[in-house]
């Protein structure tokens, strides 16, 4: 026990000693000319290498957006693939500048690890997938169902909570990996497959006949995923936060990568402030005045990124759902840029 607390103390002191480097991330990135961005080792739609070895995905777009804002070039990113266990250490030790790696924003992570969450680029949550033949339209009708789950994940606990809360019973069928879970579902070992919504769509494609299955509307847990930065470097924290806000505001104002040049002639003061023709520009962030223009020009707005990586324009075909803008009844809302 003593040994363990000693190790923890050592890690923590080592982690906090990293804070001596605080407030320098922006300068370090500019001097290096490259943004070091931690991504997953492969998660469909969020960060995965494509045929040509280029990284693609919603999280990858976050890296590219910050690189465009800071360096003016979305390609100046060094992607560091990280496993779930390494991710926070890599950020704490300064190996990476930014961690958009489908990381759930929780109190512990935000307050005890020396990290800050700079926003939510995807509101995820646990959901259910059923075979269409089952004729079920809501998770409330799943009493007595056999449920396929992956072992050792919080999914298992959320599932137990949800069924207990609704006074229903279920029979868990536990598998080790997601591939096995899909095969189990396909073989009819269970009626329902549960996982995070973002992953359900990817798992659905792995089925022999993806159209035979559907994702139920209920979401039973909150998994807000967002980009993470080191605590103690407020300037860098602001940059990442406002890059994300710029993506959202651009969608709200209808500014896209295709029309951003035309929009320079726009009379709308909100648009003019967004692309840095007037208003706060880049001063407070320590960036060029056209930072948001570069982001939109090179990445597009949030909606474009969503559509291209996980939404209708991608094989995953995830519904915008709660990730729609607040104007469309979703949760994505950005403070005004003025």
């Amino acid at each position: 026990m003593i040994k363990r607390s000693l190790i923890t103390a050592t890690i923590l002191s080592a982690a906090t000693s990293g804070h001596v480097l605080a407030d320098v991330t922006l300068d370090a990135v500019k001097a290096r000319g490259v943004l070091q961005c931690g991504v997953s080792t492969g998660l469909p739609g969020f960060s995965n290498p494509d045929d040509k070895g280029n990284w693609k995905g919603l999280d990858v777009d976050m890296c590219r957006a910050v690189a465009a804002a800071v360096l003016g070039d979305a390609t100046k990113v060094k992607y560091i693939p990280l496993t779930a266990k390494e991710r926070f250490t890599a950020l704490q030790s300064g190996e990476i500048d930014l961690l958009p790696r489908n990381t759930t924003w929780t109190q512990t992570r935000d307050t005890q690890l020396g990290l800050n969450f700079a926003g939510v680029n995807y509101y995820d949550g646990q959901g259910f997938m059923v075979s269409k033949d089952l004729g079920v339209k809501s998770a409330k009708e799943l009493d007595g169902a056999a449920v396929c789950i992956q072992a050792g994940t919080t999914t298992e606990l959320n599932l137990a909570d949800y069924f207990r809360l609704n006074g229903m019973s279920y029979a868990p069928v536990v598998f080790d990996t997601s591939d096995q879970t899909v095969k189990g579902f396909e073989a009819g070992r269970c009626d329902v497959l549960t996982s995070d919504q973002s992953q359900l769509y990817a798992l659905r494609i792995k089925l022999e006949k993806p159209d035979s299955a559907m994702v139920l509307p209920e979401v039973i847990s909150k998994e807000p995923l967002g980009p993470v930065v080191r605590q103690g470097d407020d300037q860098w924290f602001n940059i990442v936060k406002w890059t994300h806000n710029a993506l959202l505001n651009a969608e709200e104002l209808g500014v896209t990568s295709a029309n951003v040049d035309e929009m320079k002639k726009s009379k709308n003061p909100n648009v003019r402030r967004l692309i840095g023709l007037e208003g706060p520009k880049g001063k407070g962030l320590g960036l060029n005045d056209d930072w948001a223009y570069q982001v939109i020009k090179q990445i597009g707005n949030y909606g474009e990124s969503f559509d291209r990586n996980v939404g209708a324009g991608s094989p995953l075909k995830v519904n915008r759902g709660i990730n729609a803008l607040w104007t469309d009844g979703g949760l994505q809302y950005a403070p005004p840029m003025r």
């Binding site: 050592t10 890690i11 080592a14 982690a15 000693s17 990293g18 480097l21 080792t41 492969g42 998660l43 469909p44 739609g45 995965n48 290498p49 494509d50 045929d51 040509k52 070895g53 693609k56 060094k78 992607y79 560091i80 693939p81 990280l82 496993t83 266990k85 390494e86 250490t89 890599a90 704490q92 030790s93 300064g94 190996e95 591939d179 990817a202 494609i205 792995k206 089925l207 996980v310 991608s314 094989p315 995953l316």
Partner: protein, 365 residues
């Protein structure tokens, strides 16, 4: 009464030829017959559909999943991404650098392996001392007008080979030194060697890699933190040298005491007696052990995927997560298994050939 020797009758028809062989080997009793029939049945129901899936109904060429329409295996997934599986994220225009490195290495190895090629000593020295420098500049760049390709872009089969080859080659000398140290009469040298060997053999490789990747950066400042691949390599070498030391020690212990005494009687010092008498004999005995260790390491390299390095297995797994290609995990894993099998089987065959040629005197199959 006839006393002439009768001509020898041919053996009964059912004990020669194909029938005889079948009878002797497959149907020599009720139990064996039953087992044979069961296995034949199993083969009939499994091999046929498997071949149909893997070869007859399979799709080979194309550039998207639409090309996979025949219902069998979708090898398009492999053929379309084969460059990525071989070279990782290495820039496409620079593939020739990996190719060149590989061909030089293959030529060196072939020269050393094939009988009766001249100047083996020089080639061995070149492979050990000059080639690593050439290889480094070719792969990493940063000199002779070559662009730097950082190690986080390395991956695929080339990374697997780099990890395995460097791991084993660098571990070899350390292993010999540690083994000699463990058998030394000097108490400090001996206990240090024992502690080192027992420590590294006592921890799993996955822990070593994890420490190198996760813990080490926390203890050193940002400036001195060095390359992740280098960290993993150092971990692998440390780990592997402990195993190698035990293989070498096994070889040393197999040398009869008389050889040591003879070397002493000739008035040879420690290093001369080791270098000229003991090690040449011991190394011959160690071949199976060394190759065994090498094969184990070659397969262990896939553990680097837990620290986010993309070896062959990891890059195939990452490719399986491309939304455009979801659902071809079977093809991916079969491909990886085949590649690993080809390399491991090749090495084991070579080691058997080498044993025969060197006549280690214990090649009783």
């Amino acid at each position: 009464m006839k006393y002439d020797l009768q001509p020898t009758l041919p053996p009964p028809a059912n004990s020669t030829g194909l029938i005889g062989w079948l009878k002797r080997n497959l149907f020599s009793g009720p139990l064996n017959s039953l087992a044979t029939l069961a296995i034949l049945y199993f083969l009939a129901i499994s091999v046929g559909p498997m071949l149909k899936w893997a070869l007859i109904d399979a799709d080979w060429i194309g550039d998207s999943r639409e090309a996979c329409s025949s219902g069998g295996a979708c090898w398009v997934f492999i053929t379309h991404r084969i460059d990525q599986f071989l070279y990782g994220f290495y820039p496409e225009t620079e593939y020739w650098r990996i190719d060149t490195t590989f061909y030089i290495f293959a030529a060196c190895i072939a020269w050393l392996v094939i009988d009766k090629t001249p100047y083996k000593g020089y080639v061995a020295a070149f492979t050990l001392f000059v080639f690593p420098v050439i290889g480094f500049y070719l792969m990493y760049g940063g000199g002779f007008g070559l662009d730097v390709v950082e190690t986080h872009k390395w991956g695929g089969l080339s990374l697997t080979l780099i990890l395995a080859v460097i791991g084993i080659v660098a571990a070899m000398p350390f292993g010999v030194i540690l083994a000699l140290g463990r058998r030394s009469d000097m108490p400090i040298v001996r206990s240090l060697s024992v502690i080192y060997i027992e420590f590294w053999r006592g921890v799993p490789l996955i822990t070593v890699l994890f420490m190198a990747s996760v813990m080490l950066p926390l203890f050193v400042s940002e400036e001195v933190s060095f390359d992740k691949l280098l960290r993993a390599l150092i971990g692998i070498i440390m780990f592997q040298s402990a195993y190698m030391a035990e293989v070498v020690r096994g070889g040393l212990q197999a040398i009869p005491k008389g050889q040591y005494e003879a070397a002493d009687a000739l008035g040879l010092g420690y290093w001369k007696s080791m270098g000229f008498i003991i090690l040449p004999q011991a190394l011959k005995l160690m071949i199976p052990g060394i190759v065994n260790t090498f094969i184990a390491l070659f397969k262990d390299t896939s553990l680097v995927l837990i620290i986010g390095l993309f070896d062959l297995l990891a890059i195939v797994q990452a490719a399986l997560n491309d939304p455009e290609w979801l659902g071809y995990s079977t093809e991916g894993y079969i491909f990886v298994a085949l590649v690993f099998w080809v390399f491991c089987f090749g090495m084991s065959q070579y080691s058997q050939g080498l044993e025969k040629r060197l006549q280690t005197g214990h090649n009783t199959r």
